[in-house]
Amino acid sequence: MKEEKKYWNPAVETLPRERLVQIELKRFRELLRWSQENSPFYKKKFHGIEPEDIRTLEDVSKVPLTEKDELREAQVGKEPYLYGDLLAVPPERLSVYHQTSGTTGKPVYIPDTYESWQWVVEVWCYILYGAGFRPTDRVFLPFVYNVYIAFWQGHYAAEKLGCEVVPGGGLETKARIQKMMEVKATGLMNTPTYGLHMLEVAKEMGIDPKRDLTIKKMICAGEPMPEPTRLRLEEGWGADVFDHLGGTEPGGWAGMCTEKKGMHVIEPHFLLEMIDLETMSKPIPPGVKGVAVITSLCRRSIPLIRFNLKDMMMVRDDPCPCGRTSVRVDQVGGRVDDLRKIRGVFFSPSVVEEVIRGQFPEVVEFETILTQEGIMPVLTLRVEMEPSLAESQQKELRKVIREKLKIRTNLTFEIESVKPGGLPRYTLKSARFKDSTKK
């Protein structure tokens, strides 16, 4: 019998760390030079920096960070239309268009040449293969195929890997569930929120995904997935659920292997750095929570150099039993943009998800709202509970949720029940934190 191959690329994935870093530094220098020569934005931004002077990771850390606002400003009103000063290739070489969701402002437009897009897809092959996707899988994508990058990469990577890809784009949720059952899909790609939503809809249809469907593996993207949410998905679907890290600007850049302990950075295609949250510049060691900074080392259409992801993460320093030598990260604490100081306490909305998904299976959906009463900030958690719960049970549950949140965050929450179906459902990025104090 043919031996099962463990890695997408055994040479790269088991390369000694020193060699990985060497390659990353070489690619960093090449990318920097390419950017200075071809992108007006980087030519100006990195004026005076000599790529050949960058010999160590410490040297890299002296190169200025790139912020999302800068990318936006480099495009608005600049030629060539849409991409402006960021573009580093002739426009006629472009073949793929994507854009960011614009959640934090005007969208950033990210095009790719055929070559850079195939590189994005290649990186996703590492992610999918690491999560155990194989040519024997029939992969269903319940994803709205549109301008957002989301699962486009997953689609093409699954195809390249040899899986049979079933595009479930133009269907509503019930039809998607029926189609998955009909084709006996074994793999699935969705946001964590939509994975949970499909469980809810399947239940309404009298379908138990664990019993009636054949999904064996699921890969999630689009939003942070705290461990309790991942476990809830595994339980509901009876499948192995894997997380990945990525975005429109860098593409997918890390994925969970079958050990499910942190996410492997796809090195040496990416260089990950961690910086201190307070100074937003000082490098921090493994085991310390900080902010992730990423460089996409081989994407030339719109280079991304030392991009501040504004995601709080922590690098692990224990070796992974899977044998991969790449750095592993855990997402801890959500987005820097969502971090609030409330009554002197740092609050991250992702903690609410950890508590709710980890301890309250009766809660179907929730959202956190920050308001202001006079000078006092008020946190309200709106919860939608299982319709079968009596009011007395709901009342007791609200009390327990309030206590658990108090213990975890040191903040007092107002807890409100919402009628079934009263809270929004999301197919792509969820927005469960609303800050009404923001002008």
Partner: protein, 55 residues
Amino acid sequence: MEYDLKAMDLEIKAIEERTKKLKELGKEFVAVERNADSILTFVYLLKRNISDLVE
């Protein structure tokens, strides 16, 4: 695991050379030029995956 990165690298370079030659020969044929470009894209990925590891 047994593999020979240097031998793979040589083959990748040979494919690159031959594809460039094909592209030149077929420059009047869009079908040849564009398909040759596609091959060169995957050569680029093979170089990132293999050739860059050869010291």
